[in-house]
Symmetry: D3
Subunit: 247 residues, 6 copies
């Protein structure tokens, strides 16, 4: 059940029995020579929509642009400042909270968003605490980065071994190809497996990772594997957050 494809009376019905909501959050940033710029938003969205079906839970619109400063040396990457992203998430929680939603699950597709998401949870909690003390709305926020759930990591290790890497990975590319089969690209990747390493700011990132990938060989991606990644991610979410989302 997608919020965008619902009417307000339908949401009112939903809230008569349910209190949970899933919010997909991704990023709009380079994913190497072959990966889509929208990879992190697309994957979060696909996983969230399927989880919403499986769990009969409402899914809010996707936050498509995240915190991706480190990718800004590559054309097309977008970023919000952490402070802006925190404000967006804080507003999202408080807006939905006022209708009676109390259980918020952010399904995340981008590692760079994690600090902002966690900061936003506490920004919202603390604002409510300062202004309302014990009378604050009793809300609970959880973050699930689908790509680092144990089930997903196990499947990636099995399917790709060390070539999974950590950015522009074959697992996330597989999910985008599962969602958009006509968007597969297969340029020559040189080297096939990108270098590993750490980075600080956006200039340092591009120096270390000239084509944008980190440790990955996305040429190993397939749409079929993409479907399996969605499946195991949703299973993990159902097991871990199913009760939580009933509110």
């Amino acid at each position: 059940m997608r919020l965008q494809l619902s009417t307000w009376p339908e949401v009112a019905d939903y809230l008569s029995t349910r209190r949970g909501v899933i919010i997909p959050i991704g990023s709009t940033e380079q994913h190497g020579p072959s990966g889509l710029i929208g990879t992190d938003a697309i994957t979060a969205e696909v996983v969230s929509w399927r989880a919403g079906e499986v769990l009969d839970t409402l899914v809010a619109p996707t936050i498509a642009v995240g915190m991706a400063h480190h990718h800004m040396a590559f054309p097309g990457s977008m970023t919000l400042r952490p402070s802006t992203l925190i404000a967006v998430i804080r507003d999202t929680i408080l807006a939905l909270s006022s209708h009676g939603f109390t259980r918020f699950l952010f399904v995340n597709g981008h590692g760079g968003n994690i600090p902002s998401i966690q900061s936003a949870f506490y920004e919202a909690y603390e604002e409510m605490r300062v202004h309302h003390g014990d009378g604050a709305p009793d809300i609970a926020c959880q973050l699930c980065s689908w790509f680092s759930s144990p089930a997903v990591e196990a499947l990636a290790a099995e399917a790709f071994g060390d070539a999974e890497g950590s950015h522009a990975t074959p697992s996330e590319v597989s999910v985008t190809w599962h969602a958009y089969p006509d968007q597969q690209r297969t340029p020559v990747l040189d080297p096939p497996v990108a270098p590993q390493g750490r980075f600080t700011d956006s200039r340092d990132f591009r120096r270390a990772f000239p084509d944008g990938r980190i440790g990955s060989n996305p040429a190993l991606a397939t749409p079929e594997l993409g479907g399996r990644f969605v499946e195991v991610a949703v299973d993990y979410i159902a097991t871990t957050y199913g009760d939580f989302l009933k509110g």
Copy 2:
């Protein structure tokens, strides 16, 4: 050409000859008993994607949640504070600007966003001016609310007369049905044409417009008309902003 479905080398190619970008911006808010909560985001997105094809222009991801305080008395409506939305748009402009984009067209689906969008343009211009003076990047931002373009208003008048109204209109509902033919709903609307009027805050809105519609009869919508609305909106954008977007 959608940014989300592009790779960074493709964006680099685009920027070797083009400087324009379209950013769809909508809202997530009640649209009466039959209209989808995502109506304003869906319509802005559909119009933008088609305009991007016609004008061979890159389209950034949709800003799906806008400023919709006045709809918050209806379940499922979401809003950003104006200050948050301004920050989001400011960050969007500055992020894309750093890659060489200089012509920004925000295609808007929601009247309530207009003050925030215009404020954000000047927030960005003024920040650049204060910090860089005459050396500031030479960017230009334009706002086009597709629903109030003359061609769209003419078609709406012809198709619906006074029953177009101003919120949960048959024109915007038609566009969503064109985009999502399986999402048509036809509850009894009582009265068929909703009351007209003004409003201040969210409580006042619900007092004045009990089912969320303003002056409209969305039962007049059809998917076919939706297709025509997209067409005339895109024609208008092509005529008005085609040269601008070449940068």
Copy 3:
């Protein structure tokens, strides 16, 4: 009745029967070779003071500096960032609201302020809603840009035709000459009627409008016409907002 020229017991008396307040808001920006930099603040103030007399309504001090980024390439222009102006207006509303004022009419003299004023209304409404829900103070804010009221536009069309233009107009200059008869300036204007057009940022504005005027011939101004413009603007306000201001 001007707030600045009242005592607090007089305001307490006023509030025992009335709930409305008028807030003049203008700008401090170039108005061509002959127009005063304070034109927009002066005109908003003159209209507001007269409306306050006619409607027996309290008038708050004038917000004299507005959002005028686009005029900053001309010496003497001042601007607040949109975010700052929004904070000023938000604080103004909340401060007066705490005394029991519930009806706020912003009489505006500058088009560039409109997005910030409208954003501020929703910033205030939303902050109150988030923190107080249905218990939020029941306030209502309205914006009236005196220069674009129908009666004023009709008089300008009659008096000046196309030479009214849209910045440094003979109508606003007339009002300043009515208020400050000794401040009339009559330099040679070349061309007599300035060019029309659009603009983006402050550099673009000066390129398009070298002497600062847009489409106007302010040499047509007279103090007598200024008096008539005030009169018709106040009539419009009285008719449109008279009941509203009774609270």
Copy 4:
């Protein structure tokens, strides 16, 4: 020379030889049973305008609403948050600085503004330093609270002795009566000399000072003394800041 009553070419001329500007800043707050709510803005403005004439210096529009939280328990008082007032002053400095003004004298009429004004100077300096280092514009900001200049304090002591007090003082009331002779009010003040003391927040203020005055007997005010206060304040400004304002 008032900025509001100048044209942009006149300001351009001024800047060819001068770099200084005076900015009056006051407050809009209760001043006891007889004092005007606009007292602090009126007095700052009157002193600034006269100083501008004497020193041939441009005077910007008055910042009429200041930081007056402590007066908010009295009807009609207005306040900006300190953070808002800091933003206003920061924007004021940066806007004027971009035209070439380098010497800013804030003539202040309200003690409660002092922390915000001083904070704003450093907010502006620090922002420029962080972004431009040694290339930052070489601006200098000074604060002069006219009422606490030695010459004014001496005259107040001579004229009123202990009955000067510290809020709703006969000296400031005298200046407003000098400026607005028709706005004199002479209610019975009980006690004639108000209590002295300290305060914390707005509730504490009203508990300690039930009619709003602190230690003063404003019944001693006269318009003639008001004229003398303006004179000695302007003399002090001319002596202390005359060279500074030449820039």
Copy 5:
């Protein structure tokens, strides 16, 4: 009693009878060729800890970095923007207030902090007032800059005469040597007594005061005098704020 060296049950006990808390606030900035960069934080902390013992009052952790823009042209100086420092103090007050602390004494070691501290008090008061009106927590905040208390100024005058100066003073250096006897430095100071004067921004400060001192001869400092300064400062605090801190 130091908060950092307490447990939560001990604080709960304290709050069963007491409502006061002392918050030391200093700065991290150059103090001339011989003075420690931490001078202002160290002195505030030493005075606060001793006052806490004498008055049996809880002492919160020291705010060690303050507003020191004007010292930033000397290596090692740190500063918060005024807006950041205001936020820190506001959060400090509201956090402690939620446990039942109602009397806040900020013991300050740095003149440059004063505007930010005072602004923060009103930022907190006003935020509580806007959101809670008469139901706001009844808190009271006081600022005591130990170095400008009358008793300290008298001792400094007696001990050092004009060579006390106003930055990198022998009195504050004495206190740091009392606290850290092994941190005494005695470079040649040239001239022995530094120049007096005023300053605007950080560049202006270094031009006027090449080695960082203002009007002082810190070579006159001794650890023994440091102990006496602490003693008289604490006596002053006990006399002036002892009752206040009982809450």
Copy 6:
């Protein structure tokens, strides 16, 4: 080498060969019935000071109050909002950066700070990128939470097994007892090992963990183990960040 105990010429000398700086960051929050409220700040400080000696690296003053919303239901806990803490860290980085520091190591004692610290790094990077592009200062920021370094976790497992837990742990209590041997407290803990679990906001935390501990038995702490924890943490920092800090 502690910044607070240095003079500016000493820092200038340091910067002639070194570019690194360590910033300790902790928290002020309940640590169960026996743990000090300052535990996280004390431990970060002790580890940082020792690392500074071993690595001949300057150590800035400790950020003593962090993000600890979740502990606010226990008396004495303090917190900054995430947005405030981000501003503090951003200002810290930019202030030190302007003197030539380029390598920033934040040694952290509190898990709740991690999202804010990481967000602040990107807030600083992104602000510099937007305003200076490739000309931005080439700084690098790293975060090291001493308590989760592999060497520390190994020692804790060896010394305490499962009774280490995750809040008010015997390892951190040991470090505070090593630093303050006279601050040992040994109340009866019931149960000896606290419950494990997750939490959302501050109310939920206290419901789940009634005495404040999570999964730990701090009665196992000893000052001697505290010394060993400092030693292994510093070894880890030296090995991992020694080269980084040379700049």
